[in-house]
Symmetry: C2
Subunit: 361 residues, 2 copies
DNA sequence: ATGAAAGCGCTAACAT
DNA sequence: ATGTTAGCGCTTTCAT
């Protein structure tokens, strides 16, 4: 099928597609619109034979309910929304991919919103803004939802699920971040390191992320349990970016007594740390050990030892849990047990960690 | 504000938020609903004083038009949709981030759909599926839109913009991919390489991507212009993934006469190529040169020489162009000039390319 | 199990 | 410049 030269837009099938409405289906099927509606949505009180017939007719007409009309009439949008600090980062886009896949399967529309700052997130919640009638629920990733905000969501009939943050009143998908910190520390300590740097988020945590705090907690706990007390100057902010990690590592190396190993709370920061090492002629895994978190696709490229987590799976879990909440009636919703879904993690040892510090500092 | 122990869900503000409707605003403002509608949407034929007054009243009531109702009545969704081969890859998620930001600013909702296969993309277009009344337009990234598909979109009143692919009848955002191929080839040839590998997409291109074909074209053209004819065995499929790049490079190194340099059509494949090199004890930029495309955030981490493009900006451009199409009436739309937006690219020389092959093979 | 009819909250003619 | 009103296409009581 080839359009010859019709840049002007003349096309053979200019007729705007005729959309069939529920009424047309009803007529063709010889039943009422109400029955069509019920049959197509799988509601009870429809004779099995009727349902099959209606389904067939609808299919033959390529009928689909107009989402806008359905939303208006039903008051539900069949849409969910993911709120992430940033759309393009690896972690968040992987979460989004996992959740999006579940939505497609479940027939939900999937809206994505990136909120660069805590302020924007606040705005999002204001009735004046976006949430109100656009979505039935939201997945909030790594951003703390205050009680006031939760109440506001509740008032607007919006369901909630969180990732990376925990509330008792909604499904939460988490990994044991304290355990992650412990695991990284244990690995490094076991290798003989005693002076270990820590590359985390920002000091003044704008987004109130809990994740870095918990990872730090587990990390420090094990260090102290091993009898090496944790020197505050060994903690540097990496802002969860490559560049941040690079600068953090650089500053750690500038210390009078630089660390012989380093725990970066994300692989992306770890990549930056590796850069900083190379810039100074230090060999990762020989002169300085580095362990990250995530098992980013590139971790194996640079032979990064890391604590692996299944990020896409977390997004999918959250989406499924949220759908559970949304499909529950508002009444049963508040009496239901909101699952706390603990996702697995594991240490993947590669080349950037090695035994015995060479003690270059 | 602290909830004490209310896991059961009793909250102080249990009253479902009262939503004000356009009628309420009209009453409070002492005008008709039509005037409110017009005033709030910036339509003509409203006295400036009236508009200000209505706007104030609406704001004071936190009024926002119900999107579903507006969509149903107006027949437009104020939503756009991005269709990408995969949501989580760096390139696509960066595109999506760029487009999403524009949507937020313009008051558009932003739907994201990942289509793993060409088949899924076909399904998406079927009237039975998702597009129909959900969106006013779609940005298709790197997937070829056939004439039949374009006609179908047109019939369903959907506007289109493309990225990475070109049609005369809709806005297209592109880089000169032939030029990209030339630039990479020129760089490597200038360095003295004559036997240069090429890591591209799949052989049997399932998604009908044009991009790899064009990059290859420019690459081969320059090679031949320089008198080194391009050996077919030097082309290996990398599938635009890290792993694919790794395997491709491995297979190139297995040749009787392996290349002394390699052009990977994306940084992600280039990263994989670097891995393969290291696995064999070869030093990137010393034993074998590698150049990628994108300037991925990690390119600098591994000192990758690459052809930089501004991916987020491309997403933003496409979104803006699409909004232009959607806001144009259907009539003016077919008479309008559909922009071809050529985005810039440039060579960024880092450490993975160097002069003179050492001729290890 | 099925049908009739009343909205859902807005926009867009059409009046004035 | 502003008001009146008829839908938009569905869901959902309420009858039957």
């Amino acid at each position: 099928m080839e359009v010859v030269g019709s840049v002007t837009g003349h096309d053979m099938t200019n007729s705007p597609a005729q959309r069939s409405k529920i009424e047309d289906v009803a007529e063709r099927a010889g039943v009422s619109v109400a029955t069509v509606s019920r049959a197509l949505r799988g509601l009870p009180n429809v004779a099995e034979s009727t349902r099959r017939h209606v389904t067939d007719v609808a299919a033959s007409m390529n009928y689909r309910a107009d989402p806008a009309a359905a939303r208006l009439a039903a008051g539900r949008t069949k849409t969910m929304m993911a709120v992430v600090p940033s759309i393009s980062g690896w972690y968040f886009s992987t979460i989004v991919a996992g959740a999006g896949a579940v939505c497609v399967d479940a027939g939900y529309d999937f809206l994505v919103v990136g909120v660069g700052t805590l302020g924007e997130w606040g705005h999002l919640l204001e009735p004046t803004y976006h949430l109100e009638r656009r979505t039935d629920g939201v997945i909030v990733v790594d951003i703390e939802v205050t009680d006031a905000q939760f109440a506001s969501l509740h008032r607007h009939q919006l369901s909630l699920a969180t990732i990376g943050t925990r509330r008792p009143d909604c499904p939460s998908v988490l990994i044991d971040d304290v355990g992650v910190g412990r695991m990284a520390a244990d690995h490094l300590i076991g290798l003989g390191h005693r002076r270990i740097g820590l590359i985390g988020g920002a000091e003044d945590d704008l987004m109130r992320f809990q994740v870095p705090l918990r990872r730090r907690q587990g990390f420090v706990e094990r260090l102290e349990a091993a009898g090496h007390d944790f020197d505050q100057e060994l903690a540097a902010p990496g802002y969860f970016t490559v560049d941040g990690g690079r600068e953090a590592m650089a500053s750690l190396l500038d210390l009078d007594r630089p660390p012989t190993a380093c725990f970066a709370m994300s692989d992306e920061m770890a990549f930056g740390a590796l850069m900083a090492l190379r810039e100074r002629g230090l060999r990762p895994g020989r002169d300085v050990s580095v362990v990250g978190v995530d098992d980013h696709e590139f971790a194996s490229v640079v032979e990064l030892t890391t604590v692996r987590q299944m990020v896409a799976h977390q997004g999918a879990s959250a989406a499924r849990a949220l759908i559970g909440e949304m499909e529950a009636g508002p009444d049963e919703q508040r009496n239901m047990a909101h699952p706390v879904i603990e996702e697995p993690f594991e240490l993947v040892v590669r080349g950037t960690t090695c035994p015995h510090p060479t003690g270059h500092g």
